[in-house]
């Protein structure tokens, strides 16, 4: 007798739990029961759990019967000829899906060789335990798990050929790599996912060595010759969108070159690129401040009198123009309709991005870094055969992170490039290091991948032999030109009088809570005060009632709105945000009285 639970709810009892569970599994494999059901007998608790609800993660496995895999050679042949498909195998009961609970009772063999009579299932491939991005990580079984996770995440940020119809698309903040390549060191997943149709990196020659400290702390040194020949070049696309909105009372926005009478008219120069229809002409080279789409909107509030005024004089300017630090070439103009039926103008800007100091790159092994120096080819180290690397990677990145796969790919890439073939780096099923070494030796190189190299500046031979080979490198979407920012003075917010936030608004860099703490911990009070001075104001305060008084600029007189003009009023210095806070207190019905006293 044991209890049976269906989706966690008590259902009843069965006499023979093992037979009961076996019959459920059997009927499921014969397609008499829903394939989504999973069942587990817990002999410790003497309870049977049946699960059929949604939200369970399930994993496909090959069934094993009497020590033999049900997936036969005949199946494989049929699969190759495309006579049967995956779903047929599931229907035939060759493959079944297990959830986390049923997996408890399964005994899964990792490879076909280790299947015994006790096994119930066989793993389809060791690779199925990974997701797509991790499957693309070559030699992952040689590297620490955390690094594998980092490496898989990095691949998602890589630039590549993201969509074949990119010319017709308006995407936000997207880049296209100019000459993407298929990696020399591949995994099975590269073929399965048809990676050659949307590659996202390039094979570069990498030397693992220092370069005068310019590649310390994960920085990379790259060869100017490679950059000049188009290495890691990309195009950055950014849309500018404007919609002709309709307002109540039949008023609408109007996309056109604004009249000079319009409220907020910029200057004639700013509208210079606009064509007659108010939209910029294609291939014009624009920079910050230039208007991309000219637009005017009706006035915000219509009072009775305004209706008799000339309509154009009260319209507002509401063009879309490039923000601080933005530039580009107009690539494409799309005139269409929004979901609300309004006229929608989308303009795509394009900008060529040549690798520069600060751009971020990564290999597929969680070894990311930014460019620290772009070196003239003449100063680059070279091998005996005269080859200069495209990229120099610091050896200090290797020991602490233990990314052995990084080194193996370098070796594999070298062989691939020399022998003109692809190297299989599929996790758990890759080509063996010993075989790779043998092949490299047969190609006439030292089997450990090192070569004698010479200093490009002095021409002297390096004492150490340098590990140099070929690797797949990815350019990541974080490029300095999108991030570089500094401010000395600039715009402030209307409400708080504090500096604006963010690069696009030419904002300040926030001195946050923790930064404040470091100032306090050092006892640097006056420096701290100076840092927070950005919104300081002089405010007249009535000494009688402690409220903020009024300064009448016209009469050059101060007076208190509650006590009148016949009281002592002092000017004090405080942050404008605090003055705002005092006003908010008043709205709460709280009387914030400032008691003034002389400091000295």
């Amino acid at each position: 007798m044991s209890d049976v639970f269906l989706n966690g709810k008590y259902l009843g009892k069965v006499d023979d739990p093992k037979a009961f569970v076996a019959s459920i599994k059997d009927e499921r494999r014969k397609n008499k029961l829903a394939g989504s059901a999973n069942v587990l007998y817990n002999d410790e608790q003497n309870e049977v759990y049946v699960f059929s609800a949604g939200g369970r993660l399930r994993k496909p496995l090959i069934l094993v019967k009497d020590g033999k895999s049900l997936m036969t050679e005949q199946h494989e042949k049929q699969l190759e000829k495309k006579e049967i498909s995956w779903t047929d195998l599931v229907k035939q009961g060759v493959i079944e899906y297990l959830d986390a609970s049923e997996e408890e009772s399964a005994y899964v063999a990792f490879t076909e060789e280790e299947v015994t009579a006790d096994h119930t299932h066989l793993e389809i491939s060791p690779l199925v335990m990974f997701g797509l991005c991790t499957s693309l990580f070559p030699f992952a079984n040689f590297t620490q798990g955390t690094r594998v996770s980092i490496g898989s995440k990095n691949q998602k940020q890589a630039l590549g050929f993201y969509a074949a119809n990119y010319q017709l698309r308006i995407d936000m903040d997207i880049s296209l790599l100019h000459t993407p390549q298929v990696p020399i060191v591949k995994s099975v997943m590269h073929d399965v996912a048809e990676y050659e149709k949307h590659p996202s990196g390039q094979n570069v020659i990498v030397a693992i060595m220092g370069y005068d400290g310019y590649n310390m702390d994960d920085a990379l040194v790259i060869n100017k010759a490679s950059v000049d020949r188009g290495l890691a070049r990309s195009t950055y696309y950014r849309p500018v969108v404007s919609e002709e909105l309709r307002y109540s009372g039949g008023l609408t926005d109007e996309i056109s070159i604004p009249d000079k009478e319009v409220k907020g008219y910029k200057s004639e120069k700013d509208y210079a690129f606009l064509e007659e229809d108010g939209i910029i002409s294609v291939e014009s080279n624009v920079k910050e401040g230039d208007v991309i789409i000219g637009k005017t909107s009706p006035p915000r509030f219509l009072s009775g009198l305004d209706e008799y005024n000339l309509a154009s004089s009260t319209r507002r300017e509401s063009s879309s123009s490039l923000k601080h630090g933005e530039k580009g070439i107009v690539d494409f103009v799309l005139v269409s309709e929004s979901s609300n039926g309004n006229r929608l103008i989308q303009v795509r800007l394009r900008e060529q991005r040549i690798p520069e100091v600060g751009d971020k790159f990564t290999s597929r092994h969680g070894q990311k870094g930014v460019i620290g120096l772009i070196v003239n080819p003449g100063d680059m180290p070279f091998t005996a055969s005269g080859l200069t690397p495209d990229l120099i990677f610091s050896p200090h990145g290797i020991p602490t992170r233990m990314t052995v796969s990084h080194l193996l790919e370098l070796l594999g890439g070298k062989i691939g490039a020399l022998a003109g073939r692809f190297v299989d780096g599929t996790t758990f099923e890759s080509e063996k290091e010993a075989d790779l070494r043998k092949e490299l030796a047969s190609l006439g190189f030292r089997d450990n991948g090192t070569e004698t190299m010479y200093n490009g500046i002095t021409g002297k031979k390096y004492k150490a032999r340098i590990f140099v080979g070929n690797m797949y490198y990815l350019k990541l979407r974080h490029m300095v030109s999108n991030k570089l920012h500094a401010r000395a003075r600039g715009p402030i917010q209307l409400l708080t009088r504090q500096p604006t936030e963010g690069r696009a608004k030419e904002g300040g860099l926030r001195l946050g809570e923790m930064e404040k703490d470091t100032f306090v911990a050092h006892g640097a009070s006056l420096l701290l005060k100076e840092r927070f001075d950005s919104d300081k104001t002089i405010v007249p305060v009535c000494e009688e009632c402690g409220l903020i008084a009024v300064y009448d600029n016209y009469k050059d007189k101060t007076f208190c709105p509650t006590c009148g003009g016949d009281v002592n009023i002092s000017n004090i210095e405080l942050s404008y945000a605090f003055k705002l806070l005092l006003d908010e207190f008043k709205t709460l019905g709280v009387y914030p009285k400032l008691n003034l006293s002389n400091k000295y």
Binding site: V520, H522, S525, K536, F578
Partner: protein, 374 residues
């Protein structure tokens, strides 16, 4: 070596003892020089006025905290016992949590006892729930009753009889009749709401019925500490353990702050905070000066009760209404302050940052006044 009177009041006891020890065999004039030099060094080492000790302390504990790994520490032994260590434990202590995740005791015993004796004492401490001494629960759906089959050997091991167990069950389960026959105790539901579900729930409830030992002591582990055996327990009940006559009450401790506070008082609780935080830090191989932690412990215990470093604890007692408002739920704090007519003297950091005034610390502390000649 005698220390001249004028120096006695300058040093703390520890340094005076050290000086007495190291000054042996020195001439008076040389010793005087040593004293002078020591006083100079001692004065240099003192915290200067205006030093922001709280913040420096917070950073000195917080920065190593970022390097902490989420490790649990395992005792080597038969029954695996793990204790929350690392960052979670630090958070637990400094927040002043009422219930901690792994309460634990170190029970010292009076006199030198043999291993066998210690084992027997340990078993006396261990809490026994019904589930442990039961062989099988048989549910009878038709009669709405449960047959509880007791395990003979488990009962004798704990010097229990089936009769005492039956009594315990009778007390614990209401709305049921309890009968006993040999080693079987039968529980029959009688109440109005007797149903299959109720029966099932009763079965689960029966498993957790307390039978013997000390409540809360889930696991016991006798360990050798230096020369003697001590008992480490999972679960804590300081009050009842200290009442036992074989327990050395001067050394027995728990890691439960509130229990120690209730049984031994606030000074013991303060010391426990220091010890427990230091234990975690040392366990992680981090080096934090004990004085930073002492400051935290003092802040938490200053009014006789344990207050956590949270918005309900220490923060709620800040003197400045503006500082409290800037932390959380500003409207609540401001309205409360307005009702009582609170006056903010702007003596602390946050208020002065809000007003853009120099913080009264470090360079902001002294005021410089020059006399103007007329």
């Amino acid at each position: 070596m005698n220390i001249p009177k004028e120096y006695l009041n300058e040093f703390p006891e520890k340094i005076i003892d050290d000086l007495k020890e190291s000054g042996k065999g020195l001439t008076d004039s040389k010793f005087k020089k040593v004293l002078e030099k020591t006083l100079e060094e001692y004065k240099k080492a003192r915290i200067t006025p205006g030093e922001c000790v709280g913040l420096v302390g917070a950073e000195s504990i917080g920065e190593p905290g970022t390097q902490m790994t989420l490790n649990t520490f395992h005792f080597a032994g038969v029954s695996e016992m793990n204790v929350t260590m690392g960052l979670p434990r630090i958070i637990e202590i400094l927040d002043g949590r009422k219930t901690i995740s792994t309460p634990m005791m170190e029970v010292y015993l009076k006199g030198k006892l043999s291993g066998e004796k210690v084992k027997a004492h340990a078993l006396m401490l261990k809490e026994t729930l019904l589930g442990v001494v039961v062989d099988e629960f048989n549910i009878d759906i038709a009669d709405l009753k449960i047959d509880v089959l007791l395990k003979e050997d488990k009962l004798t091991e704990r010097s229990l009889t089936s009769a005492t167990v039956a009594n315990v069950i009778k007390k614990a389960i209401k709305k049921a009749t309890v009968t006993k026959e040999d080693n079987t105790v039968t529980v029959k539901l009688t109440g109005k709401d007797a149903s299959l579900n109720e029966l099932y729930r009763t079965k689960e409830k029966l498993k957790d019925v307390f039978v013997s030992g000390i409540k809360g002591i889930k696991e016991v582990l006798p360990v050798k500490r230096k020369e003697e055996f001590i008992i480490i327990t999972a679960g804590s009940n300081l009050n009842e353990v200290m009442a036992l006559d074989f327990v050395d009450t001067t050394r027995t401790t728990s890691n439960d702050l509130y229990e120690v506070h209730a049984v031994l008082g606030v000074e013991a609780a303060r010391q426990l905070i220091i010890d427990e935080v230091m234990k975690v830090m040392e366990n992680q191989g981090l080096n934090v000066d004990v004085r930073h932690i002492m400051l935290v412990a003092d802040t938490m215990c200053v009014n006789g009760n344990i207050k956590g470093i949270t918005r309900y604890g220490v923060v709620s007692e800040k003197s400045s209404a503006l500082a409290r408002a800037s932390f959380e739920t500003p409207v609540k704090h401001i309205l409360a302050a307005a009702l009582t007519g609170e006056r903010d003297e702007l003596t602390s950091v946050v208020e002065n940052v809000m007003l853009n005034q120099p913080v009264p610390l470090g360079t902001g502390l002294p005021g410089l006044v020059t006399e103007v000649k007329k």
